[in-house]
C-alpha cells in the first residue's frame, strides 16, 4: 500500500513529504528528550528550566482551597517520624501563629516546662553573667524566624490554610513553623519510637513555636561558654534586639569560614558586596530578596525591618534593627577571621549599630592590625600618577550626623506589649481524647497478605488534640504514628481537607510477626493533655510449614 502511494507521488512532493515526516519524527523525539531531561532531576516535573516565556509550574506555596491534600509524606528517613504526622494549618493571616509567637516570647505559652518553656535568660558581660526569670525574647525575632524558616506555616506546602494535612518536615528534619531540628533527627521515645515531645513539636503549632523560642533562648544562653556576646556596651541586655545578633546567627548554625552556613557577615560565600538590606516585603521594593546572598541573622533582622505582606497587609509593624558597622573596629576587630574559631570567645561585640551620615572615626586605643604575612609595602611600587582629589559633597560636609551611639540611645527595643493571659487559652483549647474502639483483630497469612484495619481518634473538646500511637510490639504498625484531631472551634476552609476525626490504619509487619496468635497493645497518647487510651491488637498468623495443605495456627 505504501509503495503504491509513493509511486503516485511526484518526486518533489515526495521529497517534501519525507522532509515533513522527518521533521515530525524529530520533533516528537525532541519532546521525548526534554521529558527525559526532566527525569534526571530530583523531581520529575520540576527543576528543569522552562522554555522561553514558560511559566513555572512547581513550587507554589499553599494550594488553593479544594486542592486535594497528598497522602502522608515520607520524611526521607532518619527523622523522628518515618512518615510526616498530620497537623492543623491555621488561617492565612497568621493571626493564630503571631499570637503564639508573642506568647512564647514572653514565656506565656508553657512556662515552667523544661522542654517547651523559656529558661531564665542570662545577661551581663563575660565573667559576670546573671540570670533573669522575667526577661523575654523580642517577639519580632520569633516572628521573623518563623517567616524565614517556614513562611509561618506548620503544615506541608501542599496543605491549604485552615485545613489538616502532613506536617512540614524539611530534608534535614526541620519540623513545622520554627523548623525545629534539634531533638527531631531521630526517634527519641521508648523502644525506638518517637517521643511525646516530638509529637507535639511536629503536630501542634503552639508547641512548635514554644520549642523554637526555647531553642533560641538556649542559643542566647550558650554565651559566653560556646558563643560570643553581643552588647558588651549595654550589659548584654536581652531586651535590645541587636544583642540577639549571635543567638540568631546560632539558631541557624555556627560553622567554619567559607561554609554555606558560615553566617559570618564578611565571608566571601556571600558573593555580592556591598549588600543591600534583606526584605521579606514585595520583591519590587528595591531591596534584597534572594536569601542565598545573606547570613541568617541578616535575613532575620532584615525581615523584622521589612516585614512580609499577606494580601497586602504587613504581618507586623516594621521594626528597625541595626547590623554591626563592619568598618568600625568595635565590630570589625572581633569579627576578624582569626577569631572565628570555637568557642568564639574573642568575638564579643558592642550592640550592633550603623553609622548615620558618615563613618565613625576609629576608636582611640585600638591598635591597627599589622599587615598580613607576606605583605610587601608599596614603596617598591611607584604610582606614575597622582590620585585625583574627589569632588566634595556640595551640600553637606562629611560631618557624621547624630548616630544612635552618639545620641546615647543604643539599639532598638520591641514595643510589642505583653499579651493578655487569656490569650493563652485560645492557643490550646481544652482537647478531649476519644478512640473508636478498645480492641481490634487483624489476621495475616502469606497467601492473603497482611490485613489491616482502622480506628478513629476524635477530639471531644476544643483546640488541637495531638496524639501519638505507640505499639507495645514491633509487629504492630500504626500509620500515621502521630497527628491531630481538630475541635469544632477551629476554622476549616470550605472544600479544604479538614477531617476533624483522625483515622489511623493499623496493620502488621509480617517480618516481625511471631507464629501463632499474638496480642499487643497500641497506646494512643495525647501528650498535650496527659491522657492515653489502650487498644488491644490481636492477630493470627497463618503459617504454612512443610507439605502444602498442613496448616499450623
Amino acid at each position: 500500500m505504501a509503495s503504491k502511494i509513493l509511486r503516485k507521488l511526484h518526486p518533489a512532493t515526495l521529497g517534501l513529504v519525507l522532509a515533513l515526516v522527518t521533521v515530525a519524527v524529530l520533533l516528537a523525539l525532541g519532546r521525548g528528550q526534554r521529558q527525559g531531561e526532566a527525569e534526571e532531576g530530583v523531581t520529575p516535573t520540576v527543576g528543569t528550566p522552562g522554555v522561553a516565556g514558560a511559566t513555572p509550574t512547581a513550587g507554589t506555596p499553599s494550594a488553593a482551597a479544594g486542592t486535594p491534600v497528598p497522602e502522608a509524606e515520607a520524611t526521607g528517613g532518619g527523622c523522628a517520624f518515618s512518615q510526616a504526622p498530620t497537623t492543623y494549618e491555621g488561617p492565612k493571616d497568621r493571626s493564630l501563629y503571631r499570637n503564639a509567637a508573642e506568647l512564647a516570647a514572653f514565656n506565656m505559652l508553657l512556662p515552667g516546662d523544661t522542654y517547651f518553656g523559656l529558661p531564665p535568660l542570662e545577661a551581663g558581660l563575660r565573667g559576670s553573667r546573671t540570670t533573669s526569670a522575667t526577661a523575654s525574647i523580642p517577639p519580632v525575632l520569633l516572628k521573623s524566624i518563623a517567616w524565614i524558616e517556614s513562611s509561618f506555616t506548620q503544615a506541608s506546602q501542599q496543605v491549604p490554610f485552615e485545613a489538616i494535612g502532613p506536617a512540614l518536615v524539611s530534608f534535614d528534619c526541620g519540623h513545622g513553623i520554627m523548623q525545629v531540628t534539634s531533638g527531631m533527627t531521630s526517634p527519641l521515645g521508648e523502644r525506638g519510637y518517637p517521643s511525646p515531645q516530638q509529637a507535639l513539636v511536629a503536630t501542634h503549632f503552639a508547641y512548635n513555636i514554644a520549642r523554637g523560642a526555647a531553642i533560641l533562648a538556649d542559643k542566647w544562653n550558650s554565651a559566653p561558654e560556646h558563643r560570643p556576646i553581643a552588647g558588651t556596651d549595654t550589659g548584654g541586655d536581652p531586651a535590645i534586639i541587636e544583642n540577639w545578633y549571635f543567638a540568631v546567627w546560632s539558631y541557624n548554625g555556627f560553622t567554619g569560614p567559607g561554609a554555606n552556613r558560615s553566617n559570618h557577615p564578611m565571608d566571601p560565600i556571600y558573593g555580592t558586596w556591598p549588600r543591600v538590606s534583606y526584605s521579606c516585603g514585595p520583591t519590587s521594593d528595591g531591596l534584597g530578596h534572594n536569601r542565598g546572598n545573606y547570613p541568617f541573622q541578616e535575613l532575620i533582622f532584615g525581615c523584622a525591618s521589612h516585614p512580609p505582606q499577606v494580601d497586602g497587609v504587613n504581618l507586623w509593624a516594621a521594626q528597625p534593627v541595626d547590623l554591626p558597622d563592619l568598618n568600625d573596629p568595635r565590630w570589625r576587630e572581633p569579627l576578624k577571621l582569626e577569631n572565628f574559631v570555637y568557642p568564639y570567645d574573642k568575638m564579643d561585640i558592642a550592640t550592633p549599630r550603623q553609622p548615620s551620615g558618615g563613618y565613625h572615626p576609629a576608636t582611640p586605643g585600638v591598635t591597627p592590625t599589622p599587615y598580613p604575612t607576606g605583605y610587601v609595602p608599596p614603596t617598591p611600587f611607584s604610582y606614575p600618577f597622582a590620585v585625583p582629589t574627589p569632588t566634595p559633597r556640595p551640600t553637606s560636609p562629611a560631618t557624621p550626623q547624630a548616630s544612635p551611639a552618639s545620641s546615647g540611645v543604643v539599639g532598638h527595643r520591641d514595643p510589642t506589649q505583653r499579651p493578655p493571659t487569656s490569650l493563652r487559652a485560645t492557643m490550646f483549647g481544652t482537647p478531649g481524647l476519644s478512640v473508636s474502639t478498645s480492641a481490634i483483630r487483624i489476621s495475616y497469612s502469606p497467601e492473603t497478605g497482611a490485613g489491616s484495619t482502622t480506628l478513629t481518634i476524635k477530639n471531644t473538646g476544643t483546640g488541637i488534640l495531638s496524639w501519638l500511637a505507640i505499639p507495645s510490639a514491633p509487629w504492630v504498625v500504626a500509620s500515621p504514628m502521630a497527628g491531630v484531631a481538630a475541635g469544632p472551634d477551629l476554622s476549616c476552609a470550605p472544600s479544604s481537607p479538614c477531617e476533624r476525626t483522625a483515622t489511623l490504619t493499623i496493620s502488621v509487619d509480617p517480618t516481625r510477626l511471631p507464629p501463632g496468635t499474638n496480642q499487643a497493645t497500641l497506646t494512643i497518647l495525647a501528650p498535650g493533655i496527659n491522657r492515653s487510651y489502650a487498644v488491644t491488637v490481636t492477630t493470627t498468623a497463618v503459617i504454612r510449614i512443610g507439605v502444602p495443605g498442613v496448616t499450623h495456627n
Partner: protein, 397 residues
C-alpha cells in the same frame, strides 16, 4: 522513465532513513554528548552586532534569564525561566565563548530549602535550549567556574559541621564526557580540604585552576592542574577574609579585596598579587587622602588594566575608576551614590556596573544595573525585581 523514478524513490527512502537516524543520533548525544553537539546552533549569537548582556532576574519561585543588547537594554528577551526552591535564586555564569549558561539551583521540589541544601548544577545553551543536569549535590552559593575552552567547569561540594570547618571539594566536570556514561557526567575531584574552598579561575591556557582556601589562618591562594594532581598553596593573600578575586586576562596577576586598617577603621582595599613567581602583593591604588572603600577590582579584557570602585568619605558621587599607565581615570559618575564594576564587555567598550544610590557601603541603598559605554553614556537596565549579572554574550560580529 522507470529507472529514474526508482532512483528517486530509493533516494527519498534513503533521506528518510538517514534523517531519522541522524535525528536519533543527535538526540542521543552526538559524538560526545556535549551540548554543542546536541544543538548545533546552541547559543549561536544573533545577527546583531551589539554586545549583549545576560542577566538573571530573581523571582520567589523562579528566576528569569534575559538577554539584551547593551545599547538597547530595554529590548530584552527571555532566555529561560528556571524554577527553584522558594526564596533561593540561581547562581549562573556564562561560558567564555558565550554559548552556554551553567548554574546552581535548589530543586523546586525541595522542602524548606536553606543555603546549605544540596544544589543542582545544570548547563544549557545560552538560548535556554537543552538544559542538562550535571549533579545534584553541589553548593548553591558558588557559581560554576568555566574552563577557557568552555568544555568543562568546576563546582564546589561541601559538608558543613557545627563549630568546625567542614569538608570542601572542588569538582571538575567535563561536558564532553557528560553524555557518554550511562551513570551520568564524569566528575574528577581536584581539591579536597577541611577549609573553605573557592574556585577563582583557570589559567588562560586552561592547564591550572586557581582557588582560594579560607581558614582561621587567613586566605591562601592555591593552584591545581586542571587534569588532576596534587594541589599546592602558592601565597598568603591575607590574615583575614579576602574576596572578589579576579585573574588578569594574561593570568599574570590576581586582583582582590582585603581588609586593612585605616583612619576610618577597617576598609576593604583592592590588592594586586603578581603570579609570576614572586607573588609580590601591593595595593592596587595608593591610599586616598580621605577614608575610602574599594570595590570589586576587575580587569579590562584588552588592555589588562584594572577597574574598581572607590567610595571616598564625603564624595557626592563615586564613579568606577580605571587604572592604566597614564594614571587613574574616573569613569562617568552617577548623579548620586557610587558605582561598583561588574565586567567589561569582551571588546572592552562597555562596562556593566552596579550603581548604588546610597553614600555609604554599610547603607548602600537600592542599586541598579547600568551599562556604561565608551562615550560615557549610562544605560540603566530596568527590571521589576533584583537582578544579577550573568555575563556578556558573544557579540555576534
Amino acid at each position: 522513465m522507470a529507472p529514474p523514478l526508482r532512483l528517486a524513490r530509493l533516494l527519498a527512502a534513503a533521506i528518510l532513513v538517514a534523517g531519522v537516524a541522524f535525528g536519533l543520533w543527535q538526540l542521543a548525544g552526538g559524538i560526545a554528548g556535549n551540548p554543542a553537539d546536541l544543538l548545533p546552533s546552541a547559543g549561536a549569537p544573533p545577527a546583531s552586532g551589539s554586545a549583549r548582556i545576560v542577566i538573571n532576574e530573581f523571582g520567589i519561585e523562579a528566576d528569569t534569564l534575559w538577554v539584551a543588547p547593551a545599547d538597547k537594554p530595554s529590548q530584552r528577551q527571555v532566555v529561560a525561566v528556571v524554577p527553584h526552591a522558594a526564596h533561593y535564586g540561581i547562581y549562573a555564569t556564562l561560558s567564555p565563548d558565550g554559548r552556554y549558561i551553567a548554574y546552581t539551583a535548589l530543586s523546586p521540589g525541595l522542602r524548606d530549602a536553606s543555603s546549605d541544601s544540596p544544589a543542582e548544577v545544570r548547563v544549557m545553551g545560552a538560548d535556554g535550549s537543552y538544559p542538562r543536569l550535571l549533579t545534584t549535590d553541589a553548593d548553591l552559593l558558588i557559581a560554576p567556574v568555566w574552563a577557557p575552552d568552555s568544555a568543562s567547569l568546576v563546582f564546589r561540594r561541601s559538608q558543613s559541621r557545627e563549630n568546625a570547618a567542614g569538608t570542601f571539594e572542588l569538582v571538575r566536570v567535563s561536558l564532553a564526557d557528560s553524555g557518554q556514561a550511562a551513570a551520568g557526567p564524569v566528575e574528577s575531584t581536584l581539591v579536597t580540604a577541611e577549609a573553605g574552598l573557592f574556585p577563582v579561575g583557570f589559567s588562560p591556557d586552561g592547564e591550572r585552576l586557581y582557588y582560594t582556601q579560607v581558614s582561621a589562618a587567613g586566605t591562601e591562594l592555591g593552584q591545581v592542574a586542571a587534569g588532576g594532581g596534587s594541589p599546592s598553596l602558592l601565597a598568603h593573600l591575607g590574615d583575614d577574609f579576602t574576596r572578589d578575586w579576579h585573574l588578569s586576562p594574561d593570568g599574570a596577576r590576581l586582583a582582590f579585596l582585603a581588609p586593612q586598617q585605616s583612619q576610618a577603621g577597617t576598609v576593604l582595599r583592592a590588592m594586586v598579587m603578581e603570579l609570576n613567581g614572586t607573588f609580590q602583593l601591593r595595593p592596587a591604588l595608593p591610599a586616598a587622602d580621605r577614608p575610602a572603600q574599594d570595590f570589586n577590582p576587575i580587569w579590562h579584557p584588552k588592555d589588562g588594566d584594572l577597574t574598581l570602585g572607590r567610595l571616598t568619605l564625603g564624595d557626592a558621587s563615586a564613579p568606577a575608576m580605571r587604572v592604566d599607565a597614564s594614571g587613574l581615570q574616573p569613569l562617568e559618575a552617577p548623579s548620586q551614590g557610587f558605582d561598583v564594576p561588574l565586567a567589561w564587555s569582551p571588546d572592552g567598550s562597555t562596562l556593566a556596573l552596579r550603581s548604588f544610590q546610597g553614600d555609604l557601603e554599610s547603607e548602600a541603598g537600592p542599586w541598579h544595573l547600568v551599562l556604561l559605554d565608551a562615550e560615557g553614556q549610562r544605560r540603566e537596565v530596568k527590571t521589576e525585581s533584583e537582578i544579577s549579572f550573568v555575563g556578556w554574550a558573544a557579540s555576534g560580529k
